[in-house]
């Protein structure tokens, strides 16, 4: 009985505090803030405070929620929550910072791949349910973007799984981390260099930052799927985007940086790991999102699709073939 | 000679498939289908044939003696052929009925024009 209670409290802690809702929300919003700040500095602006996404989130929470006539109420309000839940669940599958994943099981790589699609699907369903033609165009683009980045992402994940598993099956993040335990990070393996590049290009598309934010082009189709959203649901979607930033960079660190484990025992070791992980995520964010955002204009959807199915897929495929041969 | 049967069966099969693949008239397509059936029926009957055999019928004297003095052909393929002929006739009848209906609705039995569902 006592065990059950302790376990419940422990699991509740996982879900609520670390690495669940609280941690991931704060980390995601901070990353989004860093992104905006650094972008501003790159453009020689002062930029908003780092906490700006937090302010945005709470402000939207305090606004009125309007549900248009044409909208389907349940799907309209339910979609952001579904997206949020699936993101939190992904977090519970990720073994980051030397921390064993609470949900970690064999084959979680495919689960994460699918769970990553759910926030996008939630956005699509929500936008579709709002009944706006702008949202219709937006979801069409979102879906095409999803098809675009999913192919290279799949190939990257398979390459990593092959390197980690050798001849056996390694659809498990724990195996991938164990394979990098001795300091032999996958980013240092020459066969995986193209995969690293491909993954760096997949991250901004998955998160949907400029130049790959075709689905939410605010100057063109009025924020696409989000056009009818206001108030709390919009806040949830913004939070989802921020969390996605953190999760994608953390996934990168798991795949190629061994999940950032400095190997120091004790609670301060964990804290140190988390801090280093966050720093790594921030660097990755700046590298693959802010930098590209600052130097590129928004693509057209067909250009984006072509880019991902040729250049990025080719990078990933080269890596998979190299991994297979050597 | 039994080999002739096999050759003819295969020829009929090929002829039928040729008709189905090339003839634009739906009636001819159905005819092609019939020809395929006949080819296969011939094949099955030929399989059951034993050189010098008789019909697979026991006479009363065979039964009394307890041994069959006659060497007879395999009866199973003949039964199969009968079934197959019946089925083939049904297919043809049904296909022709459909052709009539198609003619009433489309005013043509040219297969190039009976293609409202495509792509």
């Amino acid at each position: 009985m006592l065990d059950i209670i302790i376990n419940t409290i422990k699991n509740a802690g996982f879900v609520l505090v670390f690495p669940g809702i609280l941690f991931v929300s704060i980390a995601g919003l901070l990353l989004a803030g860093i992104d905006r700040k650094v972008l501003a500095r790159m453009q020689k602006r002062k930029g908003p405070p780092i906490l700006q996404p937090v302010y945005d989130f709470f402000k939207l929470m305090g606004k009125e929620t309007i549900i248009p006539h044409e909208a389907n109420k349940t799907a309209f309000l339910g979609a952001p929550i579904v997206g949020f839940v699936s993101l939190v669940v992904i977090m519970l599958f990720l073994p980051i910072a030397g921390f064993e994943a609470p949900f970690g099981i064999e084959g979680d790589l495919v689960i994460i791949l699918y769970l990553l699609t759910i926030p996008a699907v939630a956005l699509i369903i929500g936008g579709s349910a709002s009944g706006s033609p702008f949202a219709g165009i937006g979801i069409s683009r979102e879906m095409v973007a999803m098809m675009a980045y999913e192919l290279p992402l799949v190939i990257v994940l398979l390459s990593v799984a092959k390197v980690a598993g050798g001849d056996s099956l390694a659809f498990s993040l724990n195996t991938i981390i164990d394979a990098q335990a001795g300091g032999e990070l996958f980013i240092t393996k020459w066969q995986l260099i193209p995969a690293v590049l491909a993954m760096l290009l997949v991250i901004p598309a998955e998160v949907g930052t400029q130049p790959f934010d075709v689905a939410e082009a605010e100057t063109e189709i009025c924020e696409g799927p989000l056009v009818e959203y206001s108030g709390a649901p919009l806040a949830m979607f913004k939070l989802n985007t921020a969390i996605k930033m953190f999760i994608m960079t953390a996934l990168f660190s798991v795949l190629f940086l061994g999940g950032i484990n400095l190997g120091i025992e004790g609670w301060y070791g964990i804290v140190l790991n988390v801090v280093v992980l966050f720093a790594a995520c921030a660097v990755l964010t700046i590298l693959c999102m802010t930098l590209i955002h600052a130097i590129c204009a928004r693509l057209k959807i067909e250009h984006m699709f072509k880019f991902y199915w040729t250049v990025v897929t080719a990078l990933a495929a080269i890596s998979l073939i190299l991994v297979w041969i050597f | 000679m039994i080999i002739v049967n096999y050759v003819v069966a295969v020829l009929l099969l090929v002829l039928g498939l040729y008709a189905v693949c090339t003839q634009k008239n739906l009636i001819k397509v159905v005819l092609g289908l019939g020809i395929i059936d006949y080819g296969i029926n011939l094949l099955i009957v030929s399989i059951g044939w034993n050189d010098g055999g008789t019909a697979p019928i026991f006479t009363i004297s065979d039964l009394i003696n307890g041994v069959s003095s006659n060497f007879f052909v395999d009866p199973v393929p003949q039964a199969l052929t009968l079934t197959s002929i019946v089925i083939g006739a049904c297919v043809d009848a049904m296909a022709l009925a459909l052709v009539i209906m198609i003619y009433r609705k489309y005013k043509t039995i040219n297969s190039d024009e009976v293609r409202r569902i495509r792509g």
Partner: protein, 651 residues
């Protein structure tokens, strides 16, 4: 309580089930042509009877591992030669029979309301029950010629049912194509059976396997193998043979489309598995595996890309049926324990979710009168229950967790990648990638349906659409529940249904011995496959995690409610009539609201643009001309024959 269900008693059940369906088919026409109550009663009794009879076999066959051998009229084998027609029910048959009876029952319930507006329903139910009986007979029989006869009855009934609503667009044409292609397919099967008989002098599948198994195949049996392979390929609609199936699924009444995709093409898949695994016992030959995997992969890719290009709800679903069968064939042909289980699981899930999707399509057709994606929209407001069912089905087929499609697809990816790593063959890794990408495309095409039919704006002519009657919703709810249950408790499904079925396919000797007597298999030198079903593979979900997930959902909802402004200005939905209020109107850049709906053909522009060459080619290939389709079949069959000879003669 069920003590009377001894093995010797239940042994008769399969035959009774098949006979009962055929009998009721004629009773419906005789007694029920005029009176709808008698008609419905007979149909429901037949469907439920078959369901009860088959499910009562679950315990002995699936759980206890018995194999029921039954000789019609007690014609036992004489001096080792099978004379009579035998029914042989092992776990593999049983698995497919379960799918069949479930589909029959649900389709029968659905038909009552769905078909109520049509005339000549006596004919409809006669054909329906004949179709049901023939498919059930096909999966249960152990006699190969009996199988052929069942295939032919199945083809007739399917064709007649496709043309049942012959005043509707294209149904006659679809029926004609279906008949021509289906007949060519069954002719091939018959030719194969004839050649096989010439070789083995028996029609019993177990005995054929025993006779063939001892040595290398002779050219006659290779030819027979290739022809039967092509014949069952036509029946399961793998790619070069698939074109008429899409037409028939589209134009048949929707309850029949569900039957087609739920059990008719499963019967083809069953025939394929029985053929390659048991009769010819050829599945551990690497080229055959690769050949089938190639077929499967091409099928799933072409099916899904064609589906993306469609603008009719039912035709889109039809192409998805083809695509999902590709998954099944791919997984089954890996000849690993995980692969076969994944394939069977996906076949089962396909029956569930595709049946569900067809039923929702039927509900849309029933309520709105059309399934054209360019003319519908916003129906979720009018038909919320149907919309929920549709979303469950759509997420299942797209493989989103926690629905059943995820579990089976996940097993398929794992099986293909495992095969790739254990054999070192890069082709299987490629298959994994294709399978994952096809899954995303599946999602895309269902997003298209979601947007075009259920969300978006309601056209003016659909203002008074009503939710479908309860009797039509019940099958949908049952299937939705099954979709979720098999997804969540998939470990249970795997242990008690998939593993026995897979073991039955791998355990050829047991199949032969229980039919032809102990020691037959050993005498003819047949051995089981080296692989056996794995009992418990790694789990996706931990049951306790479900509580946690539930907690997260609650907390998320809580956050939204708590942090928002509760005092006023929360959810402000005005009544429908008050549409003059600009605040709740759709945003049009300040313009007055007008009907503007992004429908099916408008979606996925960038994707279609980049692939326009491919789409032009593949849509041109589906020309609608019956000769072209026949040519595909001939070319496909010729390829198979050539390949089989190459494999067996030169390896």
């Amino acid at each position: 309580m069920f003590d009377f269900l001894t093995i010797d008693f239940v042994r008769h059940f399969p035959v009774i089930a098949v006979m009962g369906l055929f009998l009721c088919a004629f009773l419906v026409e005789i007694f029920g042509a005029k009176n709808k109550y008698i008609r419905n009663t007979i149909v429901l009794v037949a469907a439920f009877g078959a369901f009860a009879l088959i499910t009562s076999l679950v315990k002995p066959v699936l759980f206890d591992g018995e194999i029921l051998a039954y000789w019609m009229g007690n014609w036992e084998p004489v001096s080792g030669y099978a004379i009579g027609i035998g029914y042989e029910i092992d776990a593999l048959n049983m698995f497919f029979a379960l799918l069949v009876v479930t589909t029959i029952l649900l389709a029968a319930i659905y038909s009552i309301k769905y078909m109520a507006r049509d005339h000549h329903l006596g004919h409809y139910y006669t054909l329906f029950l004949m179709l049901s009986g023939s498919v059930l007979g096909l999966v249960l029989t152990g006699d190969i010629f009996n199988m052929f006869v069942m295939i032919e009855i199945m083809t007739f009934a399917s064709v007649a049912l496709t043309a049942f609503r012959n005043n509707k667009f294209g149904s006659l044409e679809a029926a004609f194509k279906y008949l021509i292609i289906g007949s060519i397919g069954s002719s091939m099967t018959l030719a194969g059976i004839a050649l096989l008989y010439a070789q083995c002098h028996t029609l019993n599948m177990a005995q054929i396997s025993a006779v063939l198994g001892s040595g290398a195949l002779s050219p006659t049996s290779i030819c027979a193998f290739a022809l039967m392979f092509a014949g069952f390929g036509v029946k399961s609609y793998i790619v070069p043979f698939h074109a008429p199936a899409a037409d028939a699924y589209m134009t048949a009444p929707t309850s029949i489309s569900m039957v087609f995709s739920g059990m008719v093409n499963k019967a083809g898949v069953y025939g394929m598995i029985r053929l390659v695994y048991v009769i010819f016992r050829a599945m551990d030959i690497t080229p055959i595996q690769l050949f089938l995997v190639t077929f499967g992969t091409i099928t799933m890719f072409i099916g899904v890309t064609m589906a993306l290009a469609q603008h009719d709800f039912k035709r889109l679903l039809a192409f998805h049926s083809i695509s999902q069968i590709g998954y099944v064939i791919t997984a089954v042909s890996l000849c690993t324990a995980l692969g076969l289980e994944a394939g069977l699981f996906h076949a089962m899930n396909h029956t569930l979710f595709k049946g569900l999707l067809f039923l929702t399509a039927g509900a849309v057709l029933y309520a709105a009168g059309t399934t054209d994606l360019d003319k519908l929209g916003g129906l979720a407001k009018k038909m919320p229950k149907t919309a929920v069912c549709f979303l469950i089905g759509a997420f299942s087929i797209s493989g989103l967790p926690p629905f059943n499609g995820f579990a089976s697809k996940w097993m398929i990816y794992q099986a293909t990648f495992e095969k790739a790593t254990t054999t070192g063959n890069f082709a299987y890794a490629f298959v994994t990638v294709v399978a994952l990408v096809v899954s995303v495309m599946t999602l895309a095409s269902f997003i298209k349906v979601t947007q075009a039919v259920f969300f978006g704006q309601l056209p003016a002519n659909l203002r008074d659409v009503k939710e479908v009657p309860l009797l039509m919703r019940i099958p949908m709810w049952i299937m939705s529940a099954l979709c979720i249950l098999t997804g969540v408790f998939y470990n249970f499904v795997q242990q008690h249904i998939l593993v026995p079925a897979a073991n039955a396919a791998f355990g050829v000797t047991k199949y032969i011995d229980s039919m032809m007597g102990e020691g037959t298999a050993a005498a003819s030198g047949i051995s089981d496959y080296a692989v056996q079903g794995v009992e418990g593979i790694v789990s996706i979900w931990n049951p306790k995690l479900w509580l946690i997930l539930f907690a997260i959902v609650l907390i998320a909802v809580f956050i939204v409610i708590l942090t928002g402004d509760n005092t006023r200005g929360r959810v402000l939905e005005k009544s429908e009539e008050d549409s003059e209020d600009g605040k709740y109107a759709t945003f049009f850049g300040g313009e007055k609201s007008a009907h503007s709906h992004v429908s099916g053909s408008d979606l996925f522009w960038g994707f279609k643009h980049d692939f326009k060459g491919y789409f032009k080619f593949i849509q041109g290939m589906h020309s609608g001309v019956v000769n072209d389709y026949a040519l595909w079949v001939v070319v496909g069959a010729a390829l198979i024959v050539v390949f089989m000879f190459a494999t067996f003669m030169f390896i």
